[in-house]
Symmetry: none
Subunit: 233 residues, 2 copies
């Protein structure tokens, strides 16, 4: 179970955006620590995730929340990853965090104030700190953007298979394509090194193209037809 | 060079959030297609990235932009990844996209309207479509959240791997390939809808494969030779 905790939010709109991105990645348990008033803008920005806000829990402090809910694992987020001299803020990336997180139990992902992030005391309550790699010119992300990235990494990890039902062509289907193209190339009367190169280039392109099963089928149909017409010559 | 294109934005605040997340990940070239009025809220939400908005370019249509700026590679984003039956919207994940993109040249990452995304016509102008895996209950991300995730993947990749020298094939070289393949397909005696589909699939595959200039050259040689042999029949 994953709780999303927002410490002392100052802007209702950010609560709304956070709720929306939570639902986008299948999360529903929002906890607000000593928040600003929840105005209409929070619900407006949440769009189709209003119930995430309605079902929120509220606590006075991060420590209260951790103790009362019996949290097993607390993850802080920070825009200021410390160097080695600032041990509490030594951070992992969202990717490292998602890879490492195979914990069952109650997990809290904690986001700090819009202006000041989490205090050192709050950071010290965390088991791990996550920091998103950003450009040095402007390293501070909006809180809902940071959340979207962390949730995306968690979701990506949890779902072993990404976009839609779309099945990538199997190795067998792809090899079928390559074999077919090789037969065509053989008939072109190339010197051997040129044949080899043409075959290699086609193989690389197919390898890089994330070709779907359906596309492999269509392309193979085309290649077969080409091959047949070359034979009939 | 990476352009970030927002097609027909309706909300100044979203333009601001987009500008902020661009700067967070080291991007600065914003293009707005037929935008709403840029009100104060855009600059307010941009925080320390106001200059991204000030330096924006504006065009009347996506096609105008692509042609006028001489874009080499156009990447669409969509919340509605097609299944295998909707070829134009077959999509790769942000991670797959970032992994494949090791190119120089002018690249455009295109985000659609807040409500309706990109039209089919706009999608058809794209070489590849990126879709973020999300939860089925609420798959539609706020545009700046989607952008943050795509930029994050690009930035992550760029940081960990040096950009290759390998120059991506220019649009002209790629179009040459597509034309050549279309000539071949025409000779295959397919009914029209099959010809169209075969052509589209080839275009998609070439679009997604991040083909280098050298590879385009080799593949074109092969296609030309095939075409010639088909003529001689």
């Amino acid at each position: 179970m994953i709780y999303v905790v927002f410490v002392e939010p100052e802007t209702p709109g950010n609560i709304g955006f956070l709720a929306r991105t939570m639902k986008n990645f299948g999360l529903s348990d929002l906890v607000l620590i000593n928040p600003c008033e929840i105005e209409n803008d929070a619900y407006y920005k949440a769009m189709h995730a209003k119930e995430v806000i309605t079902n929120r829990r509220t606590y006075d402090s991060l420590q209260d929340f951790i103790e009362n809910e019996g949290i097993d694992f607390t993850v802080g987020t920070t825009g200021e990853a410390g160097g080695s001299y600032n041990v509490p803020r030594i951070a992992v990336t969202p990717e490292q965090f998602a890879e490492a997180l195979n914990v069952t139990g109650k997990i809290a992902v904690v986001f700090g104030r819009e202006g000041d992030g989490l205090t050192n005391k709050e950071i010290s309550l965390c088991d791990v700190v996550v920091s998103i790699p950003t450009h040095e010119d402007y390293p501070i992300l909006n809180i809902s953007h940071a959340a979207a990235i962390v949730f995306y990494e968690l979701f990506k990890k949890e779902k072993s298979y990404p976009v839609e039902e779309l099945e990538e062509a199997s190795t067998i289907e792809k090899n079928g394509l390559l074999d077919c193209m090789d037969e065509i190339i053989e008939k072109l009367g190339y010197p051997e090194h040129k044949s080899k190169n043409a075959s290699l280039v086609f193989r690389r392109i197919i390898g890089r193209a994330f070709i779907s099963g359906r596309e492999a089928h269509t392309l193979k149909g085309t290649l077969r037809r080409i091959n047949k017409r070359l034979i009939e010559k």
